[in-house]
């Protein structure tokens, strides 16, 4: 609460100084990491969720864009695993009522980036490892990752916007221009991500196949994920010959993901965008 007031005064002060030149660049004072006794940020711990700060695995100055969401639910290790989903943070002091298009708060990390201190900020990436089909059984296996986007009111899990009605609803837009990158995701070694290359040599079948395919809406470079449908939206698919071994889709750029929030929904007040990520293993 104390902070909120400070923030209000702060932004007001800054606005007083800069109102004529526009409403940009309000300070990110909110992002304060919880530090351990050595001064290192504590992974996954935020100092006061009310401030919107979340420091993940990285240093405080890298900010909170590289959200980690390691998923342990998976098929038996060595088979098909959803290793990680991106954590989208649209933070930053946006001009709420005047804006309907929000981009990610800041630039994400490279897949295999390690800073001078040896810490590797977690990239904002979707990572799937498919280690099936390594035998010659001729088995037909593909996979699919879909996302179901719901915007929930704070009280209960009520969804905003009904399917088929005429209420404009929030839409998440994922870039389909991001190149899937072959990686290895080492769960035994602190979930280290190593970038590999596509290898077609069956003698060293680390990456033996073509990239999985990112879906898009129409002819655009984005996949629209509407929140007012009960159908999930498919994000990335792989047929039997695609997406073998580890693949990452790294939403690194700020504008690789957009959140469209219609003005009228902004009046409704507090809501949560819930993304349910599902790894599927079924006929496509």
């Amino acid at each position: 609460m104390k902070f909120t007031k400070t923030s209000l005064l702060f932004s007001t002060a800054i606005l007083l100084g800069s109102a004529l030149t526009g409403l940009t660049g309000v300070a990110q004072a909110a992002d304060q990491a919880l530090l351990d006794k050595d001064g290192n940020p504590i992974s996954g711990v935020s100092s006061g969720q009310e401030n919107g700060a979340e420091v993940i695995n990285g240093d405080a100055t890298a900010g909170s864009a590289a959200g980690e969401s390691t998923v342990g639910i998976g098929f038996r290790a060595g088979n098909l695993t959803l290793n990680q989903v991106p954590n989208f943070d649209f933070g930053g002091e946006n001009d709420f009522m005047a804006q309907t298009d929000f981009t990610l708060f800041n630039e994400g990390a490279e897949l295999n980036y390690t800073d001078d201190s040896g810490t590797a900020p977690r990239p904002r990436a979707l990572i799937v490892t498919d280690a099936r089909g390594a035998d010659d059984s001729g088995a037909t296996n593909g996979w699919k990752v879909s996302v179901n986007f719901k915007t929930l009111l704070t009280k209960g899990d009520t969804t905003l916007g009904e399917a088929g009605d005429a209420t404009a609803a929030p839409i998440l837009q994922l870039s389909s221009a991001v190149e899937p990158t072959p990686v290895t995701f080492d769960t035994a070694n602190h979930d280290t991500i190593a970038v590999g290359t596509t290898v077609t040599d069956s003698g060293s079948p680390l990456y033996t196949a073509a990239a999985p395919v990112l879906q898009k809406t129409g002819v655009t470079d984005f996949l629209d994920v509407p929140s007012n449908t009960t159908d999930p939206t498919t994000v990335v698919t792989a047929n039997a010959t695609q997406g073998l071994r580890g693949w990452a889709v790294n939403y690194k750029a700020k504008d690789s993901v957009h959140l469209q929030v219609p003005i009228e929904q902004q009046y409704i007040g507090v809501f949560t965008a819930k993304l349910n990520w599902t790894l599927g293993n079924a006929p496509a």
Partner: protein, 368 residues
């Protein structure tokens, strides 16, 4: 000179009032990302003896009327902490993208569906795993006496309500926030009786005026009313909308689709940035698989009220904040003028009072 000062004064006032307002509207707005803890559980399908040997990722087998079989999942908790998972049978469907859907939706059962997967097996089950425990969960499948030949499509959908609740609980009272939850599924393909004799067939049902990604448009219900499926997007669909009786295409949208047996695709045709107008329309759909084509059409009407609603939906609501600000500024100005006036008048009155004039006469006069 005084006028200029006044203008400057007004400028500063306007400035600070606006800044205050903008500052207020800004401070609550942050979209958050919140982590969900790990769900360290491996899930593996245990296939029945007659499982299709070419399929190792999901359940796929033949089953006849009156027969039963088992769908078994094996869970291994790789952590020391207890884990609780939910396994839910789901009826397979077709999404608006033309993708096969294996996830729970709010959709009603399809009108043509005779053997919903959920009626053939047990209800949702909860599995609790102690640390490092491995446990099998079985969903028995029982096909009733039936003359239906075809495919029953569905899934066993695995999620952790515990983890999802934790994610939801992590919500703060901030304006907007993004949380992640997770699930996975194993597809189930039951090939019932002489399943190969069933072939997909299509018809157009309702046309629903609705917003497509917040633009005006229509959702055309395209139904596959046979228990046969189309995989790997082998169905190509070309759809266009004309005025009724006209051949001129107004809007069109093409798609390659997969199709679940006995399911309906809400086919999206958007007007894009254009306004939709009331009138009578016809939707034409050409469908093509490798061995069959369909030419379907259906008339529909968009009423003035519907068109208005859709066209208005994504328009910003009128914001009267500027009016309040203006009123506020005017009020402050009036007060300032009043104060200045009173001050000057006070000085005048001070002089006048020396001449024994009643003090309140002037102000009473002013009121009229």
């Amino acid at each position: 000179m005084r006028k200029m000062n006044m203008a400057r004064c007004l400028g500063i006032l306007l400035f600070s009032v606006m800044s205050l307002w903008l500052g207020m509207s800004q401070q609550t707005h942050r979209v958050q990302a919140v982590q969900v803890g790990n769900i360290p559980v491996d899930v593996k399908a245990v296939f029945p003896e007659n499982q299709n040997g070419m399929v190792t990722g999901y359940f796929d087998f033949e089953i006849a009327s009156g027969q039963s079989n088992n769908l078994t999942l094996e869970f291994t908790n790789t952590a020391d902490k207890e884990q609780t998972l939910t396994v839910e049978p789901v009826v397979g469907g077709t999404t608006y993208q033309g993708e096969l859907n294996y996830e729970p939706t709010d959709r009603k059962a399809d009108s043509s569906l005779k053997l919903p997967f959920t009626d053939l097996t047990s209800k949702k089950q909860t599995v609790t795993l102690a640390g490092k425990e491995t446990k099998q969960v079985t969903f028995p499948v029982q096909i009733p006496q039936t003359t239906v030949n075809g495919i029953v499509l569905g899934s066993l959908y695995v999620s952790s309500e515990q983890a999802n609740k934790e994610a939801l609980k992590a919500r703060s009272k901030k304006r907007m926030k993004v949380i992640n939850t997770y699930a996975l599924y194993f597809g189930v393909v039951l090939r019932v009786n002489d399943w190969e004799s069933a072939k997909p067939d299509f018809r157009l049902n309702r046309v629903v005026p609705k917003l497509i990604n917040n633009d005006p448009g229509v959702g055309v219900d395209l139904q596959n009313f046979e228990p046969a499926m189309i995989k790997d997007k082998a169905l190509s669909i070309k759809a266009r909308v004309t005025q009724k009786g006209s051949t001129k295409t107004i809007k069109h949208y093409n798609m390659k689709a997969s199709f679940a047996p006995n399911s309906t695709l809400s086919y999206p045709i958007t007007w894009g940035g254009d306004r939709i107008t009331a009138g009578n329309y016809t939707v034409h759909m050409d469908l093509k698989t490798s061995d069959k084509t369909w030419h379907l059409k259906r008339n529909f009407t968009i009423t003035g009220e519907q068109a208005e609603k859709l066209n208005q939906a994504n328009q910003p609501k009128k914001n009267y904040m500027w009016l309040w600000i203006l009123i506020g500024i005017l009020a402050i100005l009036l007060i300032i003028i009043f104060v200045i006036y009173m001050y000057k008048r006070g000085r005048q009155t001070g002089r006048q009072s020396v001449q024994n004039q009643p003090q309140n006469r002037g102000s009473r006069k002013k009121k009229h």
